[in-house]
């Protein structure tokens, strides 16, 4: 028994852990994974396996390389230096022999040195054998930095897989996964250091890099020819204020037989996952609430301006990746601000950018772009000079004014689409 000194506090909250938090996200994602496989069959299995495998594999290989480079080689170097020294002495003896031609002395010296070298090599071999289990081992099956144990890379992999449309070739998914893990996670310093949402980056990477090859083919309405423009959001892009006749709100809500990314179809299951994470307090419920709320308010404003039905805001909320992105991607704590007001501003920004891209833009990946754009603003939102833990009267007033201005801008914009 030893008495140790530690600084206060001497207690830790028993059930607070990163592992639990990430595991909860995996559990919340499971119904979506099963539903994706049910809806899209083998396509979904291949895409998910490619997404998870590429991300987990990249991280694993990266850390194996880092460990290999950083491993302890001092003893090796020492013995190798010794052998090099002996070899040098042999060289010197050779040079001396060429000068004085003393065969006997030369043989004796070389023999002695060769014995020394043999001894050193034996030593090295013995050291290698003795330390296979410990520091000298070149290959650790379980890498201490590898973040599979806390599910963080698994979460990224599953989320990325679920955002990919069903007819995407698995090689594209693998390229996206490898690129995102390397460029966004590993280069920035691993878990907790990334600026961009890994899954979001991967999704945007394949959207921009492979364009038309990232497509939807299953469950498309019969009258269309199979282009990406045939999803609900696609038809909204071509005819912004005409109700898509092929799918009802219920189709979008349940997600059964609905075209799109393999995991984003069912609003019902996404909400169930969100409810689970909310009960377990494993995500910040304010982010999806404000995000979806912002899109709802803005689309309602457009609805009033255009004098169309309630289908319009409903379609915006239940179609595409909005709910999925709001619940699973925008809540990734590493890439969002840390304060409550900061998270509210962040989620509001997400809503505005998403809606603006949907209303005026061409890409169907509005949610992913919004998340990546807002990720860049996180350091600014968290900046020490103005980041505050609580809303003050002044900040609330300014924020309300910004909301009103945004609604006004969208109103004016909608009348000019």
């Amino acid at each position: 028994m030893k008495i140790v000194e530690k600084s206060a506090p001497h207690l830790r909250k028993p059930n607070a852990s990163v592992v639990r938090m990430m595991r909860d996200v995996v559990i919340a994602l499971m119904p979506l994974v099963i539903f994706a496989i049910y809806n899209h069959g083998l396509d979904a299995v291949v895409i998910l396996a490619a997404a998870i495998g590429s991300m987990v594999g990249t991280e694993y290989i990266y850390y194996q390389i880092v460990d290999y480079v950083k491993r302890d080689r001092t003893k090796h170097e020492e013995i190798k230096d010794k052998i090099a020294g002996f070899n040098k002495q042999i060289e010197t003896a050779k040079a001396a022999y060429q000068e004085d031609s003393n065969q006997e002395l030369y043989d004796e010296t070389v023999e002695k040195l060769k014995a020394e070298i043999r001894k050193a090599k034996d030593e090295l071999r013995a050291y290698k054998q003795a330390s296979t289990k410990e520091e000298n081992k070149r290959f650790h099956l379980f890498n201490r930095n590898f973040t599979l144990y806390n599910y963080s890379i698994l979460v990224s992999g599953i989320i990325f897989g679920l955002t990919v449309p069903d007819s995407t070739h698995f090689m594209i998914v693998i390229i996206g996964g490898v690129a995102a893990t390397l460029l966004v996670k590993m280069i920035f310093g691993g878990m907790g250091q990334n600026i961009f949402n890994i899954a979001g980056f991967a999704r945007a990477f394949i959207a921009l890099g492979f364009g038309a090859a990232v497509g939807v083919s299953n469950h498309l309405p019969v009258q269309d020819d199979g282009s990406a423009g045939a999803t609900v959001l696609g038809s909204l892009t071509s005819n912004p204020f005409t109700e898509p006749s092929t799918f009802s709100i219920w189709d979008m809500f349940s997600g059964i037989g609905f075209p799109g990314a393999i995991g984003e179809a069912s609003a019902l299951l996404i909400l169930a996952g969100a409810l689970y994470m909310f009960v377990r307090k494993s995500f910040d419920v304010f982010v999806p609430l404000v995000y979806v709320g912002t899109v709802f308010v803005l689309s309602t404003a457009v609805m009033v301006q255009q004098d169309i039905g309630w289908w319009y805001p409903m379609t915006h909320i239940f179609s595409g990746g909005l709910l999925f992105g709001a619940v699973f991607m925008a809540t990734d704590p590493i890439t969002i601000p840390v304060t409550r007001p900061g998270r509210v501003y962040f989620a509001f920004g997400l809503g505005v950018i998403t809606f603006v891209i949907r209303l005026f833009g061409q890409y169907p990946e509005g949610v992913v772009f919004a998340i990546l754009i807002m990720n860049m603003f996180v350091p600014a939102i968290d900046y020490a000079k103005w980041s505050k833990n609580k809303f003050s009267l002044k900040s609330s007033l300014i924020f309300s004014a910004v909301i009103l201005l945004t609604i006004f801008a969208v109103w004016v914009g909608a009348s000019n689409v």
Partner: protein, 432 residues
């Protein structure tokens, strides 16, 4: 997890209802001559002298106040030794060998009620100053400075919250000596001429409320209220107690006196009663011995100057398979851990906690925001931590790290088990 945490797991049920052990007669007591506030001292007695209980042994000398040193038992003076006090620093102590007679010094005489009735604020302050009373909640701030306030005080708040888990010394005190507490409050109200007195207690402590309400009947003529406050941490933080008991929000850094408020810990109130009524310094106090590293957790009424070794022995010692243990003097959230068990009980020692030491696996921060949501002073511990890591003093200042009260909640709630409080503490010291 990613939500405001207000509760800290409370294991007090362990020993709350056990009878309080009376261990008032250790063979040796060690009276500290120095404290963390006073490094100089003068000693008037020498080895072999016979001293009586309540006799002045000398004087501690702080930078701006002097404090008499009192004997807490009667007996013979022995050697000077070095021990550790509750804050973890080494202090010089004088040993007294107890003669178990409790012979009181001649100055220890009761003041009759009719004399007390006519005491002025100045006279009371002099008594309190002479008896070297300090804040017994753990702060050790000299009580007479508070009592000598010249601001107009409307309300005196007695803090009986004891919001940290594991502790039950104030709990035992209220149950055993409610009369002393009410009388102490009466004297304080008389001294500062306050209109109202409030005893703040947790609303979940039904037994205490019962005891206090019963006692209240004897003090009908005084305007004393019992405020039942929510059971959360850090409810016992002075500013939080004021806010919930009176509705007055004292800004951090302001003296509560300016807002007409005066706060005392419940043990301090009791000690004020003892000083004014019986002319006694603090000689005994309740100490909780608790935690998973000690075999028999219990509350002990003990003599000031007792060695913690004795108290742990009384609690059947440490558990056998403990591995590394931590000894914490004070609460588990804010108390300080000491390097060995050679610690003495000073008037400000509320508890001795023995924990099996757990080494948590620290993971990278995932910025979940639990610390930000839970912070009672509304600062952002995680941002301060990052600023400390890159040694950015300006950012630490902008994030107002100096507001931190070191309650420990940020480290308590951390999902990555990072010692956030340590970083914030470091940040505070960086900006001075």
């Amino acid at each position: 997890m990613i939500a405001k945490t207000k509760r800290v797991s409370d294991y007090k049920q362990l020993n709350k209802e056990l009878p309080t052990l009376r261990y008032v007669d250790p063979e040796y007591v060690y009276i500290n001559l120095t404290t963390n506030r006073c490094e100089e001292y003068r000693l008037d007695v020498k080895k072999g002298d016979y001293v009586k209980l309540g006799q002045i042994l000398g004087e501690r000398d702080g930078c701006f106040f002097k404090q008499p040193i009192y004997a807490t038992v009667s007996g013979h003076i022995e050697d000077k030794v070095t021990k550790i006090d509750g804050t973890g620093i080494e202090v010089e102590c004088i040993t007294i060998r107890n003669d178990f007679q409790d012979t009181y010094d001649e100055t220890i005489t009761d003041r009759p009620e009719n004399v007390i009735e006519h005491l002025t604020q100045k006279e009371m302050v002099d008594i309190v100053k002479e008896k070297a009373l300090v804040g017994l909640g753990g702060s050790g701030f000299p009580t007479y400075i508070k009592l000598a306030t010249e601001e107009k005080i409307d309300t005196v708040v007695i803090n009986a919250i004891e919001c940290e888990p594991y502790l039950s010394s104030d709990y035992r005190l209220i149950k055993d000596q409610p009369d002393e507490i009410f009388n102490g409050l009466k004297y304080i109200m008389q001294a500062v001429n306050a209109k109202q007195g409030i005893i703040a207690v947790k609303k979940t402590k039904k037994e205490l409320i019962e005891v206090l309400e019963n006692e209240q009947k004897r003090f009908q003529d005084l305007n004393i209220k019992i405020a039942k406050l929510g059971d959360y941490y850090p409810q016992g933080w002075e500013i939080e107690t004021f806010k919930n008991a009176t509705g007055i929000k004292v800004p951090i850094g302001d003296l509560p006196m300016k807002h007409g408020l005066l706060g005392f810990n419940v043990s301090t109130t009791e000690s004020i009663y003892e000083a004014i009524k019986h002319n006694l310094p603090v000689t005994k106090r309740f100490v909780t011995v608790n935690g998973d590293g000690v075999k028999f957790p219990q509350s002990i009424r003990t003599r000031v100057g007792t060695s913690v070794k004795d108290l742990i022995k009384l609690s059947d010692g440490f558990v056998e398979d403990a591995g590394n243990i931590e000894i914490v003097i004070g609460g588990p959230m804010m108390g300080s851990s000491v390097k060995n068990d050679d610690v003495i009980i000073t008037p400000t020692t509320t508890s001795v906690l023995v924990f099996k030491s757990v080494d948590y696996k620290e993971e990278p921060c995932v910025r979940c925001g639990s610390c930000v949501y839970s912070c009672p002073v509304d600062i952002t511990p995680v941002s301060i931590m990052n600023a400390v890591k890159r040694n950015d003093k300006e950012a630490i200042k902008d994030l107002s790290a100096n507001k931190c009260i070191e309650c420990g909640l940020c480290a308590y709630v951390c999902t990555s088990k990072i010692h956030v409080t340590d970083y914030v503490r470091k940040g505070k010291s960086l900006i001075g």
